[in-house]
């Protein structure tokens, strides 16, 4: 079963590809996040030593899992941490056996369930949302702490603390490691989907920092959603979320120009959109809309993204349809951001004055205080109405609130009078 020797960088590459999935399996087998992580690290150390000399095992992931499992048993032996757990693990294999007790088949067939269970553990509502995101990225996607910390711009130490606390809570409160029962599943799946969407948004529109986008986080979120769709088939909102992220992500190449400046949806070069991703996404949008009546919040958002995506140019966008979809979304899942988007769509169909009155209502309710896109949208509509002084004041307000550098530069350009003055959508 041994092929040719492999370089250390190849080991590293394999680990990056397989490590996350191996970790999920190990957490399932061992029922302990920390033990699984430590055991996998030890197995990796063995791999780095042996693979270059002895060659690559036929099934690297199975090898990593088996080796890590032995390491975990060793570790439990050494510290006699948990006698019961040791007995459980040790009873399944006999002392001195040369082959690990687990076959590849067992690992592979048990595998999907392991990851699905792990998703529900990581996204348990008893964990803080930011901990859910961090834990998912760490254990389901295999990202290192510093990679995760880069996005929300928290110090690595803070992030590690967050992970430590979350894992401690899972242990102390005994947050279960299983797919919830059918009657709890819809609510719990919602939490999982929300977390995945948080990961995506953190990648697509980072809440802070000098970078406009983090493609790796978008890709991880899409991968997680694909996993949920594959493992829990027929859940319309999971399909819808995947569709929404694919259609949105397809626009990513056009979202920034060569200089790294933010380009509005209306001004994007649509030929730069990723066609294949878009097609996949649009097919899934249809599927999600057919699967559930009335459509859920993700299905509606996916449908809105779909209307934008199908328009050959910004001017051909069916704003009436978009305004109607936002109206439905306001009913299903009311939020001031949704109302803001509807106001923008209304401005496109009924004129800037109609949109502005909706925005002013929103501003009065003060629910979006601190959100830069509200004054940014007001500024655009004011400018289109020829109320330039008020528009400038609103741009200044937005500028003070914007959180990332590309956003700030974009608003500064607007303020200076550059570019056309289409609506500022919150895409």
């Amino acid at each position: 079963m041994i092929e040719n020797g492999v370089s250390e960088s190849a080991v590293e590459r394999i680990y990056r590809a397989e490590g996350g999935r191996a970790l999920a399996t190990l957490i399932g087998l061992l029922g302990d996040f920390d033990l699984a992580e430590e055991a996998l690290q030890e197995a990796l150390a063995v791999a780095v030593e042996r693979w270059p000399v002895e060659g690559l095992p036929a099934q690297p992931r199975a090898w990593l899992v088996s080796t890590a499992r032995f390491k975990a048993i060793d570790r439990l032996r050494r510290v006699a941490l948990d006698r019961r757990k040791l007995q459980e693990l040790a009873s399944e294999w006999t002392e001195g056996a040369t082959e690990p007790p687990m076959t590849l088949g067992e690992i592979e067939t048990g595998f999907p369930d392991e990851r699905l269970r792990l998703i529900f553990t990581c996204c348990h509502p008893a964990l803080a949302p930011e901990a859910q995101v961090a834990l998912s990225l760490r254990t389901l996607c295999g990202l290192a702490s510093d990679e995760i910390a880069r996005a929300p711009l928290v110090p690595v130490a803070t992030l590690q603390q967050r992970l430590v606390r979350a894992k401690a809570k899972i242990r102390a409160a005994r947050i279960p490691y299983r797919v919830p029962a059918e009657e709890e599943l819809p609510a719990r799946l919602e939490a999982v989907l929300r977390t995945i969407y948080l990961v995506f948004n953190e990648g697509y529109a980072p809440t802070a920092g000098d970078r406009g986008v983090r493609a790796d986080l978008c890709a991880e979120a899409i991968r997680l959603a694909r996993l949920v769709v594959a493992l829990l088939p027929g859940r319309s909102e999971a399909i819808a979320l995947l569709a929404l992220m694919l259609v949105t992500d397809a626009r990513r190449p056009a979202r920034f120009d060569e200089a790294g400046e933010l380009v509005l949806l209306e001004e994007q070069d649509r030929s730069r959109w990723e066609r294949a991703k878009l097609r996949d996404g649009l097919t899934l949008v249809e599927q999600a809309l057919r699967a559930r009546r009335p459509p859920g919040p993700f299905a509606l958002q996916a449908a809105i993204a779909g209307v934008h995506a199908r328009a050959a140019s910004a001017s051909e966008t069916d704003w009436r349809e978009i305004a109607a979809l936002y109206r439905l979304l306001e009913e299903v899942e009311p939020s001031p951001v949704v109302s803001l988007n509807r106001a923008v769509a209304v401005a496109m169909t009924e004129g800037p004055a109609a949109g502005l009155s909706l925005l002013d209502e929103l501003a009065e309710r003060r629910l979006l205080a601190g959100y830069h896109l509200l004054p940014a949208a007001r500024a655009d509509l004011l400018r289109r109405l020829g109320r330039h002084e008020e528009a400038a004041a609103a741009y200044h307000e937005a500028l003070a609130l914007a959180r990332t550098e590309p956003e700030r530069r974009f608003l500064a350009r607007r303020l200076a009078g550059g570019g056309s003055y289409g609506p500022t959508t919150t895409e």
């Binding site: 348990h124 008893a126 102390a172 409160a173 005994r174 947050i175 279960p176 919830p180 709890e184």
Partner: protein, 122 residues
Amino acid sequence: MKYLLMIYDEESRWQQLSEAEREATLGEYFQLSRDLAAAGKLRGGEELEPVSSASTLRVRGGRTLVSDGPFAEAREQLGGFYLVDAVDLDDAIAVAARIPAARTGAVEVRPVVTHEMPAGPE
């Protein structure tokens, strides 16, 4: 595994209930207690007198300092508790969701630390 379910609600809400409403709610508590006992999950549970009856004490420098009122002032007060056996957090949450005050106030779910107490001198 044991969990303490701490029941928080506004005391005034309870006091404003009509006799019939209060009886119906108490009935729900009794039913929950009976179900938990039948399932072998009930370790304890009591309703507490209002916070106006609470005293808080601290021992500092060997002196016992007693003051009137609860440890923490809040809009919602600790009004009772259950101590239950549950398989895991989801199991405990399912029990907590049946507590009537969860619908108006809140229930805090805390896992209990198990200590093996060494045998005493007696």
